[in-house]
């Protein structure tokens, strides 16, 4: 077979090879994104995602969406502009959550015996679906950044409330009021995580009474818009093809 001849001999064979190529690429993309996104999220979101007693209404709501919109934006840029595939955000978050769950179950529970109800990851899939659908319907990076980034930030807290809400039930413990999440953090000893490094309920946002989460979510959403732009361009650059002339 010469270089000018086709590697396949029929249309049916071409379709089969193409599909096989699809599965290979999808498989590789899933695991590569899982690995990269997971490391990135653990380094930047870290404790806010690890522990229920870090999932507060101020800093977790602000930090987690901002650091999490990165890879979805980049993967979207690649899959949409080169293939018109609108599942970049969802595939990235599916990868991240699989990695997080494997980590939480095998490491946090399997090795160190922290109960899973204390170390579950944050929920990002509703935000990811919104991001993908907005990109698909508008076909515009700017619109996706503004509307999608906003939706990404705003949906985060309500998406997670079904799981963290029950842990915010108050309890009186030896004369002090704590949430069940606080009590988990106190009971399940973390030798390397003293209470003072827990960054919750800090800041100067005190003029909204108890309704802090929506304000934090709006701030997070605004910053998510900016981060979306930035990482979208990373994705575009990363998936671009350059041909150079042979010397």
């Amino acid at each position: 077979m010469s270089a000018s001849q086709s590697a396949v001999r029929s249309r049916a064979e071409a379709v089969k090879v193409s599909r096989m190529f699809d599965w290979f690429i999808l498989w590789a993309v899933f695991w590569v994104v899982l690995g990269g996104y997971h490391i990135h999220y653990m380094l930047t979101g870290g404790d806010w995602d690890f522990w229920s007693d870090w999932k507060d209404r101020r800093l977790w709501v602000t930090v987690a969406p901002i650091v999490a919109i990165t890879f979805p934006a980049a993967v979207q840029a690649c899959l949409w502009y080169r293939y018109r595939l609108p599942f970049g955000a969802v595939v990235a978050v599916l990868g991240l959550l699989l990695g997080e769950w494997v980590n939480r179950y095998l490491n946090f529970w399997g090795w160190t015996y922290f109960p899973v109800n204390f170390v579950f990851p944050s929920q990002l899939l509703p935000s990811a679906i919104a991001l993908d659908v907005i990109l698909m319907l508008t076909g515009s990076m700017t619109a996706t950044a503004v509307l999608g980034g906003m939706a990404w930030g705003l949906l985060f807290y309500p998406s997670n409330w079904a799981v963290i809400g029950p842990l915010h039930v108050p309890v009186e413990y030896n004369g002090m009021v704590m949430t069940l999440a606080d009590l988990q953090g106190y009971h399940y000893v973390r030798t390397g995580t003293p209470e003072y490094i827990r960054m919750v309920e800090k800041g100067t946002l005190r003029t909204f009474g108890k309704d802090v989460a929506p304000v934090s979510a709006f701030f997070s959403a605004f910053v998510s818009i900016i981060i979306y732009f930035l990482w979208h361009f990373f994705g575009r650059w990363f998936s671009s093809t350059e041909f150079v002339k042979a010397a």
Binding site: R19, P115, H168, P194, E195
Partner: protein, 414 residues
């Protein structure tokens, strides 16, 4: 010759493989907490733990034990470590093998960070409930913001039974009694599982048709718009609307089921009550102090003045949790960890009772392998070669009083 060389190479390779494989099978449990690696000056000049008591050495799952005692926040706190203005009474155990059912400093529950004063002594208690069977090294521990963990003495405690029997029942302020070990677990799995399934179905909608090569060709050919059909848009809108509705429903259901929730609690507890100890009637001046490296012994020349009304004798020198005792004066009956106790490790040149109003210069030697084992000898490599510790004197009635010493330490190598 070449055959011989090849054989040597092959056998060496096999030997290397066997060595690596054998090494893999040697996986001892890492049970300690690096207490010996912590800089010696930090252990000697920050928190002095004393009168420690581990209430049990064997605890069944679900049973409790306490660690209690006192700690002195050293007045000569090193400048290289931030002062304990924000601290946390922790416990040094390998993960949640116990749960911390309670911890108190000065009688105050301390689930939060606390502010401590230099030169003060505090009593503390930690209540632990056994959770995971095994032999565990249980340390006292104080975390200091800007200073790191300051680990105290540790003792081996055995937990017996089965972890599957462990329960952690809590009654909430809404009147519900729950087992915190498993509470909310099914709910967590349900919502994460459901959203994962929805995410997968969105993926499945797209990956059931050809993906990369034909779509790339179409995009390159300027036919990208043909790749998204009207049906695709309807399905996408359905996914978006469905997701929004589901978020709203899940939020409302949670609000309905848990109408009373409060934010996470955090803050710094100030005004922790220290122990009101009587002022010592003994004064001690360190004339000089040397550490003899080959002999693993510290020698001090002390001038002791008895300002009290009863004769006294020096019975114990304690530093970094290691207790050097003169058994003629005092004997430990608390079951203190053997490796940290030198029952006859304190030698005093003249330890006859020092009468009230008298002053005497004595040579004190604190010698034990613990200097080396606990790497306290590494003090000579610290940037601020000073040592510190507690001296305990006993009077004729058996009353004990404590003084502190803090002085430069000169190493001798011959």
């Amino acid at each position: 010759m070449k055959i011989l060389k090849d054989k040597v190479v092959k056998l060496s390779f096999v030997a290397l493989l066997i060595t690596i494989t054998a090494a893999m099978f040697y996986t001892p449990t890492a049970s300690a907490h690096g207490e010996k690696s912590q800089a010696a000056f930090m252990r000697m000049r920050t928190i002095h733990w004393f009168d420690l008591n581990w209430s049990k050495e064997m605890v069944p799952v679900n049973d409790t034990m306490t660690i209690s005692g006192k700690f002195f926040v050293f007045s000569g706190w090193p400048e290289t470590v931030d002062k304990p203005e924000v601290s946390f009474l922790n416990i040094g155990i390998p993960g949640p093998v116990f749960i911390r059912a309670g911890s108190w400093v000065g009688g105050q529950l301390v689930p939060r960070s606390i502010s401590l004063e230099l030169g003060e002594t505090y009593d503390f208690k930690v209540l632990l409930k056994a959770r995971r069977p095994g032999d565990w090294h249980v340390h006292t521990m104080l975390n200091v913001q800007g200073g790191g963990p300051i680990i105290g003495p540790g003792k081996w405690v055995t937990i017996t039974g089965s972890m599957s029997d462990f329960v952690n029942n809590i009654t909430t302020l809404t009147g519900e009694t729950i087992n915190l070990e498993t509470y909310n677990l099914e709910n967590t799995y349900f919502w994460h599982g459901l959203w994962y399934a929805i995410g997968l179905s969105w993926m499945f909608y797209w990956i059931r048709r050809p993906l990369f090569i034909p779509r790339s060709i179409a995009v390159e050919a300027g036919k990208a718009d043909t790749l998204i059909t009207a049906t695709d848009k309807k399905v996408a809108m359905g996914f978006l609307a469905g997701s929004l509705v589901l978020v709203l429903v899940s939020y409302s259901m949670t609000e309905e089921q848990y109408p009373v929730t409060v934010p996470l609690q955090a803050g710094l507890l100030r005004g922790i009550k220290s122990l009101d100890l009587p002022a010592p009637t003994v004064s001690v001046k360190v004339e000089d102090a040397t550490y003899r490296v080959p002999g693993r012994a510290m020698q001090m020349t002390l001038t002791v003045t008895n300002n009290g009304d009863s004769a006294i004798r020096l019975g114990e020198f304690q530093t970094a949790g290691v207790r050097f005792m003169d058994s003629n004066v005092a004997v430990d009956d608390t079951g203190y960890p053997d490796d940290l106790l030198a029952e006859d490790g304190l030698t005093v040149s003249d330890n006859s009772p020092l009468a009230p109003g008298q002053s005497r210069t004595i040579n004190v030697t604190a010698s034990d392998a613990a200097w080396e084992v606990y790497r306290l000898a590494d003090l000579i490599y610290d940037p601020d070669s000073r040592f510190a510790g507690l001296l305990f004197f006993w009077d004729e009635s058996g009353n004990r009083q404590m003084t502190t010493i803090d002085a430069p330490l000169i190493p001798t190598f011959i």
